[in-house]
Symmetry: D2
Subunit: 393 residues, 4 copies
């Protein structure tokens, strides 16, 4: 057991930290941001800064322009990037692109990688991932999948409606999860397809208003009307959709934890700085235990999250699937991070309810994290189910 961070990673962490502080945080109030996220021009500008700093796509292999970080390396770097809500976007390690890159790297064939992964890794394009469906379709329960496909000459025809498709507007391509329409009710056979977003039959119905507003392209309702997908654009193999979803999911959950941990640290730092300087009832706020204990609890939660993330990253680096570990990490981190941000806002008092600090923004941005990639309830359920079936220690 060794918790030390290697020197080169420590140095990289320092570089990322400085980059965020000096180049990204000053851009946070750039007007090229709307309720549906940063504009593409702004996004490209941020990517250019990261590229210039040698920090673009650090999770990608060198061949794709990255630094080849392993999961433990990501844990350190993604947290540092997450210190600004714009940091992950700048480094091209934000969801859903980061998860899509991982999935393509693991599953796509060489032609697909050249066509879709390479430009994505270089931040020349963006992408989206079309899995979630409105009620009564697939939400937390993937077996309810309604988007369907059928085999036709030379390929497949896909139909259905997805929603909460992050980044759809402006994305170059989409990974679509659909079920074989012939597969039995409740036990769908699923397949993933790759499709450029300008293909006929793909319609962005609307962009949802959401509590979080930092995804470029927003969260959209996307429908597929007899979308034809040629055979060679099946991602991996037909019928392996659920398996690939797991390939994407465990690490994707964990990178969310990493990035949000940086945001939580930021909220905590803002609140701490305020509590040290603001006085009430004869002393600094932080010297009131009612405030100081909240900040102490933040420290405890930050410490815990960092350990849990590092541990799961280690499991993945050793080749483990990490389903159980990433499930635990997701619940622990999403709930602890929420508490941290909520306390930070509370410590700031009236100021915390305004846009005068970044905490109010983080507060809104992070709330969905307790829901997406499996709400806490689904993870607790799967942890309990594991207990129900396993031999007791």
């Amino acid at each position: 057991m060794d918790f030390s961070i290697p020197d080169d990673l420590q140095a990289l962490k320092g570089r990322v930290g400085a980059f965020i502080r000096d180049e990204i945080i000053p851009c946070e109030n750039d007007p090229r941001q709307s309720p549906h996220g940063p504009s593409d021009a702004f996004r490209r500008e941020l990517n250019a800064r990261a590229r210039a700093a040698g920090l673009l796509a650090p999770h990608m292999p060198a061949g794709l322009g990255g630094l080849g970080l392993d999961h433990r390396g990501k844990a350190v770097v993604f947290e540092a990037a997450g210190y600004s809500l714009l940091g992950p976007l700048a480094l091209n390690i934000a969801a859903p692109d980061e998860g899509n890159m991982h999935l393509l790297e693991q599953v796509a064939d060489e032609r697909q990688k050249r066509r879709w992964l390479a430009p994505l890794a270089m931040a020349e394009t963006r992408s989206c991932f079309a899995m979630t469906e409105p009620s009564p379709g697939a939400g937390a329960d993937p077996s309810a999948l309604l988007t369907r496909y059928r085999k036709v000459a030379g390929g497949y025809v896909v139909s259905g409606t997805k929603w909460l498709i992050s980044g759809a507007t402006g994305a170059a391509f989409c990974i679509i999860m659909a079920r074989d329409e012939a597969s039995p009710e409740g036990e769908p056979k699923a397949t993933m397809f790759l499709a450029d977003m300008d293909r006929p039959g793909i319609v962005i119905e609307r962009t949802l208003d959401t509590i979080d507003q930092s995804f470029p392209g927003g969260h959209c309702v996307v429908s597929f009307h007899d979308l034809f997908v040629p055979e060679e654009d099946v991602l991996g193999r037909e019928g392996e959709g659920f398996r690939y979803a797991q390939v994407r999911l465990a690490p994707a959950r964990l990178t969310h934890c990493m990035r949000w941990l940086g945001a939580a640290q930021r909220a905590h730092d803002v609140a701490t700085a305020y509590a040290r300087q603001r006085r009430a009832f004869g002393r600094a706020l932080i010297d009131h235990e009612g405030v100081g204990f909240q900040l102490a609890d933040n420290e405890l939660d930050l410490h815990t999250c960092r350990l849990v993330v590092a541990h799961t990253a280690w499991v993945l680096d050793r080749g483990g699937k990490g389903r159980h570990e990433s499930s635990m990490a997701k619940v622990i981190c999403s709930e602890a991070i929420w508490r941290i941000v909520d306390r930070s806002l509370q410590v700031l008092g009236g100021l915390g309810t305004t846009g005068d600090t970044v905490v109010e923004r983080i507060f809104r941005e992070v709330r969905p994290f307790r829901i997406y990639d499996g709400p806490s309830e689904v993870h607790r359920w799967s942890i309990a189910r594991k207990l129900a079936r396993e031999a007791v220690q």
Copy 2:
């Protein structure tokens, strides 16, 4: 001990409930709303509906066009109105006007009532209350008051800066809290002044971006530059500012509890309806204990809040000042209501993070309630201080 609601009040509750359902909820997506609240035209239209329904300003005496509700009556009616975020505005029982009406009724002289209270009660005007100051001024600790006044011939001259002044833009007048500049450090002598907002020397510096967006006029930074206030526009008596703040505060806190309780009930009802209809893993969401228990906890919290509010209302109706009781009610309700709304959003899953239901909006609107009118920490501190000084039972 009797918890029954008198028949006439029950009937009024029914009328308000129907009015909110039939006339206000259908307006909730009216486009005349911005991040800084509903437009004045929209506000007047809502008031006209309430006036036509005989429900405008039900807390005011008949002489001022109201129904003369006592605090227990308000508990029932304000909750029913709060079922829509626009309901309190429609009935002219929203903060800060409602608290200002109460204060004026208790403290203003007849001339002041005619000039400022009567049109406010009729919803012909809006008002604001200028107490809170940016750091290092008066926030939770009123003794830090920095806005100052000095006596001059025929009146007073007031200078200073306030912030988070809800509804300032568009308000007809302001109640200003300031300290005698000659009073000693840390023990200010405070006075309240009435001033029309178009008086020279009153400047709205900016409207803050805030997590809540339903106050008409937003939350503003307002400064007073040598504002002259004639002697007759002192509210009540010089030097009684802190006492009047208490007159306003205890009931104002409680009416917040009432209104937000209605909003919490709404969020809970939306979540419950969804959980009954949405299925996952083979049954309705509500039949999963992980969901059903959250809704059960909502029921427990709603029940508790209702009892605590009714009790404090009864204390006030008997003539008690209710400082301790309203302090307890503020902490209990603001935290319980927060939990209810947070759980409701969680139960809705992805849908909860979108504007497709009203819950996301309520979630943002209600967060500041744990902070304004005294953050939980200040109330706990004052409850503990009372324990520290009193004889043990």
Copy 3:
């Protein structure tokens, strides 16, 4: 809505409070107490004191020697009695006797009342209630009832094993819940029987070691070996067992809340007195917010419990069954009281872990309350089920 306590009840509360303080608390360390409760001699001595004070069985009608308190009256008096763990025993309002008296009063015939209720109300006897069974029998789920009966000439023969039968050792009689052995699996038809404990076929197998130790007679495993019960000793009517269980349960749950609320107030008072006097780091403990906020939270929880109990009592006094209300009261109070006692122990620090104050004892005694009369989980489940079936408001 009126929260005032009538003068005569207020006076009675004062008398009970003084009695507990002057006559019962001084007995708390009487050596005639074992891990299986106070001795019968000690119990009779306590009853004699209450009798002399005119406070014995105040919940019974005058005809049975009581004061005829309604449920709201009980709320006030039982809490005052609960201020000592021995108080309810002294007043003859402790479980299980108090619940049994209520049940007999509602359901027994005149002969049964003379024979079993009258001496019980006078504290000449004790009783027990045999419903709970060890796994796989009836615990939280009454439909799992395994103790069975069959009709024979002149009566019934009952066989089975019960456990956690409070007060069995030394009880004069028992109320036994059993199923018709002919009734279908999972839908038992149940009946209650009255039987003197010295009847052949009743065996007390053992007294359990339990975390709580203040029940006279302890908690026992009791088995029935072909126990013959004559027809006239059926309680009420055959086949009505589950209905009678509800008659007993809702008020019995509530009287638990009342008594434990008194114990929680005691723990809180002990902790508060200590926190006012003990100093650390330069000031009284209570002036540390980390301590003061815990005591403030106790105040909030005590306040809430009192309101919830009073409300449910009012529902019962109006003739309501109060199933839902008593279910809510049970969860709210058992969890709030637990928090109060846990915080009180924590505030006392090392002292709290010792028998030098009564708090350590209360801590152990009250823990089972989150389990018996329906664990929190079962109540939340039934509240959720109600929500699932009802029309949304």
Copy 4:
């Protein structure tokens, strides 16, 4: 970052686990245990078993008969031992002896080690540590130290009263913390003394009744009446008492976390086994989310504790003082472990309140852990104070 357990340590963990399961758990109901702990004969028998298994004092260097475990090794082995409440006693790694051994190893001179440490490490003797004092003396705030000493010819004379001195009855010797009576109020100069318990002037006043009952020798009140301590029995150097207290404290806190983590795992395993087998309302308890989620939360808490303990152990192994890390570990683990045990008892329902499983016992034993070695409030305060003084990241 590497979370793997070396093979030899893994093997040792297995051996300890088997030893606890096969040799210690079967002894748990041995009658030679009283409310003031196991008898000395029973304790020696347990030690003999561990000695025979080659597992006695594994934390001691080989020269003292141990296995020379580092802190990370202890984390693994002590948790395995803690799986039985008797395990740490058997292995001679229980408090207070284990902490005293560590302190003596770090601070004592060679003569003192031969005389006091060697027989202690071999489990030939027991020891106690006399620091805590009754109000108004030193509890959580060591500066309130009242036990005093003065220099006399050839040594020192110590006077004062200590309480909650674990294991005092039957201990061979004591480490006494006292203040130079000449040192200023509020800034005591403190020294540690070694003294055999049979020295004139040492009186065990009484053994306290406490909620935990597994310390051999119980928790005692001990007074020193002009106890003469020769110069050579000063532990380390005069005036270094507070520094040595820290030397003892950080690792001692952490070993508590390790041992209690084993006990928490045990409670969780018992509850899980029960929840898998006990049925209610048509399915196994564990298949009710209301139960399964509690067990899932246990898993999350166990996972977190294990990581936090391992991390702090690593800090200590690298030579860090680990004050901050052990402070965080103490709060996180004592509160998480408490939740685990409380949930386990709740899941067991009525059975959990009885001595029929070990959970009820663990529940009582572990409660003081949130208080001793610094209550949570003191640790949160010191974490907050660190935040108040440090540069923000």
